[in-house]
Symmetry: none
Subunit: 82 residues, 4 copies
DNA sequence: GATGCGCTTTAAATGC
DNA sequence: GCATTTAAAGCGCATC
């Protein structure tokens, strides 16, 4: 009954509002991250160094995951797993 | 006592971990947003159009805020507010 | 003398053609890469594994570079280098 | 003789290195393209507009190719070509 | 303290 | 449909 031109406008509205709410949350967190950097800088840490460390840690983590994946793919290729 | 080369390593660790945690949260929300789009698509909505609508609504909101700001400026100029 | 509406059309043409030529080259190399994958597949290698290995090797290389950079940035922060 | 678990490791190595080399070349060209854009910007051109022009030219080219193809189809249908 | 600039990140488009 | 590739946005940084 709330259809307009064949689309359920209530449902569409809900979808859009959910996305908007999530995007707001995301923005809020991004802002929190910025605050942490600002605070860190204010107590004498170098933001550049912090960013670099975080980047390396992330890469190490990713690499570990990728290597696990590679093992899976090898085992699959060798018929050791389905 | 946990200083290494003049930097408090405990505190640095805390900073880094806080940022990492926040980035994880951010990533989680980004993933939630993607899920909503996927779900919307599955019930027949066009993601591209939804994005466009959200973009327009965001712009309208920005405009509204800018107009409010302008009103403040005028009111201030007229001595109606401090 | 070859200006149209204030822009040197000869020069603009040259810029555009240079970019187009480079993009063609890039496309050609992308195609070569695809060929290597196809050939590898034809002799029994699994493309997925190859991609994964290359990704890991790239990451290891990047990580090494980033760590060098981090060292630089520390040394700079500690006044050991300009 | 250089087989490990049934895969010829020499050959695999060669495949991987060929791909890596090609990817490096590709990256180099991408970097060249960026340089051309930078240079264009420095003499006053708008990168965004240049991109748009290139996009349009590419589309026209595609259209032309599609038309050629159509001509082929017609000629074939008319028995003018094999 | 403002502005521009490059770079990183994020969004969108394309191709397999 | 997914992964890659490309375009756009946002952000920090440096400079004036």
């Amino acid at each position: 009954m709330n259809d307009v031109a064949g689309v359920n406008s209530e449902r569409l509205k809900s979808v859009i509002e959910r996305i908007e709410r999530l995007e707001d949350e995301k923005k809020g967190i991004a802002s929190d991250i910025k605050d942490v950097y600002t605070e860190a800088k204010s107590v004498g840490y170098d933001a550049k160094i912090i960013r670099e460390i975080i980047r390396i840690r992330k890469m190490e983590q990713t690499e570990r995951m990728e290597q696990d994946e590679l093992v899976q793919v090898y085992m699959h290729a060798l018929g050791m797993i389905a």
